[in-house]
């Protein structure tokens, strides 16, 4: 059977990818969405979203469901798989996935967002899923009456700590530097929450546990002494890294490993290959900006297709 040739293949199921799919459909194009997960980084939001127009305060999960419902209305086909490679031969792009499938498209929009940044300390990789987590909204519920640590003293770390404090017996927030970086509002909430203890100048060195996490070891950056905390779970909130592995060698990147795009069109240096959302060198990493990026790329892809077909 002849393999279907899509007008646009969109990679990524966050706000950029989902909006691109909606706009592509409205342009009457044959759209395929390939995504390893649903909602992208929104699923990791531990506080309510209150800056997406028209929705007031909404949880990350509810916003994802609204995006999904919208996509379903338009019957956009979705493949739940991870894109691992993109190749262009002539005018056709070939997208390969982790489950060894291949899809053909005349244009591609890369909107795969960013993955959590790992700490890269001893024991971290081995204990993922066994007490090490990068998603407090996903796994936090499992730590009721248990002791947890959050690594990262920025807003994400503080919001994770606040989320966990509603369930856990004790929450430690570890910040590498001498001062936390969270905004004043989050700092005030944490200050009032007795269950949360903030530890600054803490350089996490090792996560330990035979089958599951039971201990973390950090170095006090002032005294240079190693300290131990007994914990059941460690949530790592130290930022994210663009999920660009599968487009390496194809497009240009800036020093933060973000894809360089034309800010007016979302075009990359490869004709027919566009990028949207947090994976790009756009300055503002916001849900609404990512959604706008997705729309821009779908419209640009539509113009591109008019010129090549």
């Amino acid at each position: 059977m002849k393999q279907k040739l899509y007008d646009i293949i969109i990679i990524g199921g966050g706000p950029a990818g989902m909006t691109a799919a909606i706009y592509g459909h409205r342009e009457n194009l044959d759209v395929l969405l390939i995504t390893k997960d649903i909602g992208g980084q929104i699923k990791r939001k531990s506080v309510e979203i209150e800056n997406y127009p028209g929705l007031g305060k909404i949880s990350g999960k509810s916003l994802i469901e609204k995006f999904e419902e919208h996509l379903k209305e338009f019957k956009v086909p979705v493949v739940l798989d991870k894109a691992v490679k993109i190749k262009k031969t002539g005018k056709v792009f070939f997208v390969s996935t982790g489950d060894k499938k291949q899809f053909k498209g005349l244009s591609v929009i890369v909107a795969s967002g960013a993955d959590p940044r790992p700490l890269e300390v001893t024991g971290e990789k081995e204990l993922i899923g066994r007490g090490v987590s990068y998603c407090v909204t996903c796994d936090g519920m499992l730590y009721k009456d248990r002791i947890t640590a959050v690594v990262g003293g920025g807003n994400a770390g503080f919001e994770a700590g606040i989320f966990l404090s509603r369930l856990a017996k004790q929450v430690y927030i570890l910040e590498y530097g001498p001062k936390v970086r969270a905004d004043k509002t989050n700092q005030q909430i944490v200050k009032k929450t007795q269950k949360i203890k903030v530890i600054t100048n803490a350089d996490l060195k090792e996560i330990k546990g035979k089958n599951f996490v039971d201990t973390i070891i950090y170095q006090d950056n002032i005294t240079k002494k190693a300290k131990t905390l007994k914990v059941d779970g460690v949530f790592i909130e130290i930022g994210s890294i663009p999920a660009t592995g599968f487009v390496k060698g194809l497009v240009d990147f800036n020093k933060r490993d973000e894809i360089k795009v034309n800010p007016q069109t979302g075009e990359t240096k490869i004709f027919g290959l566009f990028a949207a959302g947090d994976i790009t060198d756009n300055k503002y990493k916001q849900i609404v900006v990512a959604a706008g990026d997705g729309a821009r790329c779908a419209l640009s892809a539509s113009r591109y297709l008019q010129n090549i077909i």
Binding site: G39, K100, F212
Partner: protein, 88 residues
Amino acid sequence: MKVLKIGASWCVDCKVMTPRWEEIEQEYPWLETEYIGLDDNPDAIKKYNMASIPTFIFFDKDGNEILRMSKLVEKDVLIKAILENKDK
């Protein structure tokens, strides 16, 4: 060998894994699986020492845990684990 799949309605990654497991269960009809939802069975968190969701626990014929996977696991990886452990 039996695979216990533990998920919940609030788990976004579970939505991704559900159709993946359905495909596997159709392709390998001899495979014994069971689903536990944490919404109705919160005690399972303690019972199975849950640290991540979704979690897939492989048990041998005697009920001993032989393998544990969690989060988004690719279909190929699951099939490999199933075939490697099917006689246990």
